[in-house]
């Protein structure tokens, strides 16, 4: 099992190195405020962190996970050009523009593709992987994928898969600055943090961040899958990521977590689950029913669906007549005298016509598409009833 962990400061690196001594595979993700969504690491500090990693021979990966508007893209590239990219094992990218740029400009640099947004099918995952060819180091998949899907993908792909197993769950990312307008005093602050609760939602205390890249909202519960590492390993998901960047998680728990990865302590002995300020969940790891629960609002019975379709009831005058908007040209022959009506409630009525009139109440022998015709009243027929020529005729 390979541990993926973000390190943002020299203090964090020290804490990490105090416990980590290469007993298991590990990859450290480094970023800087210009390229990463919510790190606080400055460009200068990034260079220091790279140095430490080099000295200690810790493999590091550069994080360029922001989405880049055209003007930001140029700034990102300017920063990137100043970073000693050869010191990195790979670069993590989500923006297709960043992917294209790195593929063209630095074909020797391995890419870890962040596919956490959508990408819920194997055809797409394989296409991304093939697009990068040899340059593809791994695919970082969405935490909305259930274990069954993860297992299937891991067995069908020829590059490693990484998933997050601990930390905040990102719900929302906008480039607009939404918090500073509420806090005029601190509106110049580079990093605002807040919590949002709504009476219209049963959930309270969504963590919020605003920085130069926009505003981010996280779930009220954090992800915790550390009790599933064996299962993941058996499913060939060998890269697991801890996100300890918030809520003093790194400071308070990195030691324990490394000991856990070293197998010095068991998962049950980890204090994080009990100490953490927010509840922890498994998210969609066991099952994802988000599209099953959503029932379509459309009443299927009022949708036309076959070749005998004649039209739709648009008006009903009780005990008198029904007005029909016809959808095909027709003549009054035997076969049109029998109709099948399907009401919005799904009731089916077979009726025989005694007469057909136009809107001027003249009896007619034919009608044209999109004309209103009148037929005798039948009990139980309402507006939006679908009318078909009886299929037996």
């Amino acid at each position: 099992m390979k541990l993926i962990i973000y390190i943002e400061t020299t203090k964090e690196f020290d804490l990490f190195l105090n416990e980590f001594d290469n007993q298991f595979e590990c990859e450290v993700v480094l970023g800087c405020i210009e390229l990463s969504r919510y790190t606080k690491t400055s460009f200068e500090d990034l260079l220091i962190l790279i140095n430490i990693a080099n000295k200690k021979k810790i493999p590091v990966v550069l994080d360029w996970d922001i989405l880049n508007l055209e003007s930001r893209f140029k700034k990102s590239i300017a920063v990137l050009e100043k970073i000693p990219l050869h010191d990195f094992k790979a670069i993590r990218l989500q923006d297709p523009g960043a992917i294209e740029y790195i593929k063209r400009t630095y074909p020797w640099l391995k890419v870890q593709l962040i596919l956490e947004n959508g990408n819920h099918n194997l055809v797409g995952l394989k296409s991304w992987r093939n697009y990068l060819g040899e340059q593809c180091d791994k695919l970082i998949l969405s935490n909305e994928l259930s274990k069954d899907h993860l297992r299937q993908y891991a067995s069908s792909l020829d590059v490693p898969i990484e998933i997050q197993v601990l930390g905040r769950i990102l719900l929302f990312y906008t480039p607009r600055l939404l918090l500073s307008p509420l806090d005029k005093k601190n509106s110049e602050a580079a990093f605002l943090e807040a919590y949002g609760s709504s009476e219209e939602s049963p959930h309270n205390g969504f963590p919020l961040i605003e920085n130069q890249h926009g505003t981010f909202m996280f779930n009220v519960k954090d992800l915790y899958l550390l009790d599933h590492l064996n299962e993941l390993s058996e499913a060939n998901i060998t890269n697991v990521r801890l996100d300890l960047r918030f809520d003093s998680l790194f400071e308070n728990h990195v030691k324990d977590l490394i000991r856990f990865f070293k197998k010095d302590i068991s998962e049950k002995e980890l204090k994080i689950k009990n100490d953490h300020i927010r509840p922890m969940i498994k998210g969609f790891y066991n099952v994802n029913k988000t599209d099953i629960l959503f029932t379509k609002l459309k009443n299927k019975r009022i949708q036309r669906n076959d070749e005998y379709y004649l039209g739709e009831v648009v008006d009903v005058e009780r005990n008198n007549q029904i007005a029909l908007l016809v959808k095909r040209d027709g003549e009054i022959k035997e076969n049109i005298k029998k109709l099948k009506l399907v009401t919005p409630e799904g009731k089916i009525k077979e009726i025989e016509l005694k007469w057909i009139r136009n809107s001027q109440h003249e009896e007619v022998n034919s009608f044209t598409k999109n004309e209103i015709i009148l037929i005798p009243f039948f009990r139980g027929v309402t507006v939006k009833t679908q009318v078909y020529l009886s299929s037996t005729t």
Binding site: S71, S127, E144, L177, N186
Partner: protein, 406 residues
């Protein structure tokens, strides 16, 4: 002289709205089938309706783009090829997609043109180049991109560029919001968005003693780009898209009419210095909308783009009915969409020309009985008016209505 103008692309949430949009001037419409699209709440099209809708649009020179922009799962992809074959036989003009798996499936099964949905949040030249290499012919840029940036993307990539000109806006980068997934168990990227960004939130800033602030801080104003049509044209933007497949017939007709009238004016004059500009803007205020903003069309959207209000309906106009039939010198048959009275302030929206008032000398049921009030879901007869055609919209001014009296 005929000056070049971009395509006007209107939403078609149902077959009826498709017809209305095309007749009121849209050059193209976008619509969803029963599956694979993001607007599960709109009526969407059955296969039969697709056949009729495509024929209707094509007969009038309008294009039809079919939206397949959900983030599809493996099982969906298995079902997709059959639908693609159907759409190819129908000769739809393009598919709007956001997922690379869908693009790959399309390329394997048909030769239909691929447009990249805004859902893929394409924001820069390099991203456009990537999608171009994947076989995409047109990019619907993220709403965060300015017109000037869009012009550069077009020039550098050589791709067709489509931008939103009007309608509601997602506050998040499209495709980057899963609030509904975690809070409501509904996948927002598969049509289940619960619009949590429109809720009121109390905000507590970290490390301050300040009391909670209540705010609709995540709710975006609506986009309105009519004043920026010259900029779109100068930047060579190929298509101007209006959001709103879930919106009303009144909306579908009005935005199609207003924007096409404006673009047609430019076509013949080469400028927008029309005395009608104020009228066009006024018309856009008569359809259901939140406060308008130009979003990021000129500069990146700032705090003025936040709506910060509870959602409310203070429309001045509502649809009264749609003309079903016109019997010369006798009557118009009207499909009543919302109740109206004999003496209500009604207006008729012609496909071409100015909107005019409609005073009713009579109001009758379809069998000819005089009534003073129509009821929704019925067909009524009103006096014949010269020039009024099938699918013309009749709207009602409701600003002076008192609740309970209508």
């Amino acid at each position: 002289m005929n000056h070049w103008t971009p395509e006007l692309l209107s939403p078609a949430g149902s077959l009826e709205k498709l017809k209305i949009a095309v007749l009121y001037g849209a050059n193209a419409v976008y619509l969803g089938g029963q599956k694979f699209g993001l607007r599960q709440a709109s009526d969407n099209f059955t296969l039969e309706e697709l056949v009729e809708g495509v024929a209707f649009a094509h007969d009038r020179g309008a294009k039809v783009y079919v939206v397949i922009n959900s983030f599809l799962h493996d099982k969906d992809l298995e079902e997709l090829p059959e639908f693609l074959k159907f759409l190819e036989a129908l000769m739809v003009d393009a598919l709007i997609v956001s997922d690379l798996g869908v693009i790959a499936t399309i390329k394997n099964h048909c030769d239909l043109v691929i447009h990249l949905s805004t859902q893929a949040s394409c924001l820069n030249i390099e991203a456009a180049m990537l999608w171009k290499s994947m076989g995409v012919q047109r990019i619907v840029l993220g709403r965060e991109v300015t017109i000037a940036e869009a012009g550069k993307i077009k020039k550098a990539s050589g791709l067709e560029i489509e931008m939103f000109v009007h309608g509601s806006m997602c506050m998040s980068y499209s495709g980057n919001c899963v609030i509904s997934n975690y809070t409501q168990g509904r996948d927002s990227n598969r049509g289940g968005c619960a619009h949590s960004c429109r809720f009121e939130y109390s905000i507590d800033f970290k490390n301050t003693e300040k009391e909670s602030l209540k705010s609709y801080f995540m709710s975006s104003k609506d986009l309105e780009g009519i004043r920026l049509l010259p900029e779109f044209i100068d930047a060579g933007i190929d298509s101007l898209k209006v959001e709103g497949r879930n919106k009303s017939h009144h909306y579908a007709g009005t935005i199609s009419k207003v924007y096409s009238d404006a673009l047609n004016f430019y076509k013949s004059h080469g400028h927008f210095l029309s005395s009608d500009m104020l009228m066009w803007e006024d018309e856009l205020r008569k359809i259901s909308h939140r406060d308008y903003t130009t979003g990021s069309l000129v500069e990146y959207a700032d705090e003025n783009s936040i709506y910060n209000q509870r959602e409310h309906d203070d429309n001045e106009y509502t649809i009264a009915g749609i003309v079903l039939e016109s019997r010369k010198n006798q009557y118009l048959l009207v499909d009543v969409k919302s109740a109206f009275l004999l003496n209500d302030n009604l207006e008729i929206m012609p496909f071409n020309g100015k909107i005019s008032t409609l005073s009713l000398k009579f109001l009758k049921t379809i069998s000819g009985i005089d009534i003073i009030k129509s009821k929704p879901g019925s067909v009524v007869k009103i006096p014949y008016a010269e020039g009024v055609e099938r699918f013309n919209l009749i709207r009602k001014c409701i600003k002076n209505d008192v609740a309970g009296f209508v």
